[in-house]
């Protein structure tokens, strides 16, 4: 019987099994941000165990609320900053160099196929796009990860999606993952790894694969995973070129992190997605999904383009291509948050920032901001936002507000019309 990629990664990292179905794994990366890490740090200090297992394997960023908005967020940043300094954690991204965690860590080349990664953040599943096992954890798991470089997991079953055909123009990875979550429901993948495979995924950029894997958690999944291929190698090449003679060598090495053809799955879903339409959420659960056409004419007050789901350069390019030479509706306000400083600079160089500003968008610094309703675009009671983020929970973007999740293309078209709009209208 063959093995899934998750089984292979578990086998390669298992420290021991202290109890049945309890796998203690060695960690390659522990990622940290300023919301969930400070309490781990203060608890370690209180226990007299203020140590880190390996400062080169720990990466930290201030991203959720940055620049600090009040004394409390300033204090959180300070705890993380002082700790990084104290322990010689060189890859610490502070204001001016900081961006949304699940965008900046891959961009800096910190993720590799076959890695085990934890972070005190549920969307850590994003990094599975590189063929890694990456799981969100709570502060206690994070604390032990920081201290010992280990984490315990029950063995996750794997479900596999085979995605055939090709996406229509105006339909993106975001539409696909919304459709998949609708099929799975919000707990259909709980305690499971979701493999995304097939020609549609093979043809996707790393950015799009990250968008897919990012929302695995919205179906309860532990991690989303794509198999490493030449696209993965190309993305990582500038970081790995000293390790390998050629890209083919790198591909050969990374190809071992692929599921065997005779691996066993909890379930395999196969779809031809050629007829898939742009999708959008209604209500307060990410599996409440309809086609944009069914929801068109739903009035919105705000548009938000950004986050770890869709704040990457590809997303900004798509949105800008629709916004170009147009104005946003007088009925809405629109915000775009490039997810990292590098994305911001590139967008500036490519003229995208100018396009957004000419259309009437507010361009913010890289941050999570409005995504979790902590800053930079909180909704008022009764307001609705067309958003490229990943969660539409009640109150997520502000008490009494509604969030409609959608692709950057749909968000851009919706900004122009002031209501949920199919971007295909704007493509000749």
């Amino acid at each position: 019987m063959g093995k899934t990629i998750a089984e292979k990664i578990f086998d390669a990292h298992r420290v021991n099994m202290p109890f049945p179905d309890t796998h203690v794994l060695k960690l390659d990366r522990v990622f940290c941000h300023e919301i969930t890490t400070p309490i781990a740090i203060t608890d370690l200090m209180a226990r007299g165990m203020d140590r880190v297992f390996d400062p080169t394997k720990i990466k930290a960023v201030i991203d959720h609320v940055t620049p600090a908005k009040d004394s409390k967020t300033a204090e959180q940043g300070k705890i993380l900053r002082d700790w990084a300094k104290r322990h010689g954690i060189k890859d610490f991204f502070d204001i001016g160099r900081n961006g949304v965690c699940h965008a900046i860590f891959p961009e800096k080349g910190f993720v590799r196929p076959g890695y085990t990664i934890i972070m005190g953040d549920s969307h850590t599943c994003t990094h599975g796009a590189f063929g890694a096992f990456a799981a969100g954890v709570g502060t206690t798991d994070l604390e032990v990860g920081i201290l010992k470089g280990i984490c315990a997991f029950h063995f996750p079953k794997t479900i596999k999606f085979v995605l055939n055909g090709s996406l229509k123009p105006g339909v993106y990875a975001k539409d696909l993952i919304l459709f998949i979550i609708k099929e799975l429901t919000v707990n259909g993948a709980t305690n499971m790894v979701i493999e995304f495979t097939g020609p549609v995924v093979d043809g996707m950029s790393m950015e799009s694969r990250m968008t897919l894997c990012n929302m695995a958690i919205e179906a309860g999944g532990t991690c989303g995973i794509c198999y490493p291929d030449m696209t993965t190698v190309e993305y990582l090449w500038e970081f790995i070129k000293d390790e390998f003679k050629t890209k083919e060598d790198a591909l050969l090495e990374y190809s071992k992190w692929t599921s065997d053809a005779d691996a066993s799955y909890e379930k395999v879903y196969e779809y031809d997605v050629s007829t898939l339409e742009p999708m959008v959420t209604f209500g307060y659960k990410p599996d409440q999904v309809k086609s944009v056409n069914e929801m068109s004419d739903t009035k919105i007050d705000q548009v938000y383009i950004g986050s770890c789901t869709n704040g990457r350069i590809e997303d900004l390019r798509i949105a800008a291509s629709i916004i170009k030479d147009k104005k946003i509706s007088n009925e809405v306000r629109a915000i775009v948050s490039p997810a990292t400083p590098a994305i911001y600079s590139l967008a500036l160089k490519e003229g995208l920032i100018e396009i957004f500003q000419d259309a009437g968008f507010c361009v913010t610094n890289p941050t999570c901001g409005a995504c979790l309703g902590m800053s930079n675009g909180v909704l008022a009671n009764g307001e609705a936002c067309a958003s490229t983020t990943n969660r539409n929970f009640n109150g997520r973007m502000g008490k009494g507000g509604t969030v409609h999740l959608m692709s950057p293309a749909t968000a851009a078209a919706s900004a122009i019309e002031g209501k949920i709009t199919n971007s295909q209208l704007y493509k000749a």
Partner: protein, 174 residues
Amino acid sequence: MKEFSGKVLFLDRSDINTDEIIPAKYLTEITKEALQPYLLEDLTLNGFNNKEDIQNKTVLVTRANFGCGSSREHAPWALEVNGINVVIAESFARIFRQNMYNCGMLAIELPADKLEYLFENYSGKDTSITIDIDRNKIVVTSLDQSEEIDFQVGEFDKTLVKEGGWVGYADSNY
């Protein structure tokens, strides 16, 4: 080990997420105690009053997929600083469930029919529950009745509860 015994709060809804348990705007607090006033502030559930209904409760009984969404351990902490250290549900989101055991608290899964039975017979009454972790029994009591319900808990989870959480266990074993 903590004491797992006291009055029951029934929340008759599935998919209660961690944003509802403790909204993100309170994640700027850096002590667990500071979360106390905000537990379940954004819960959408008819007739639920977060100021009155959670007072003096120890055990939370709810439906499927409790604790979905964000990884914030602030959710178990907000429960704990309000005196709640047991959640009984049909199922849990993985991270929330692990967070509970990592803190030495209990997240107990019961089949849907047993939960339905609890809701039908005990919700709306003055009900208490005691967890006997050595015998794997939930002891339910209200004025006119008392009975025991079996539950399963894995060895790892049980060890975390007995040793008071994952940090202590990991430090002495790894």
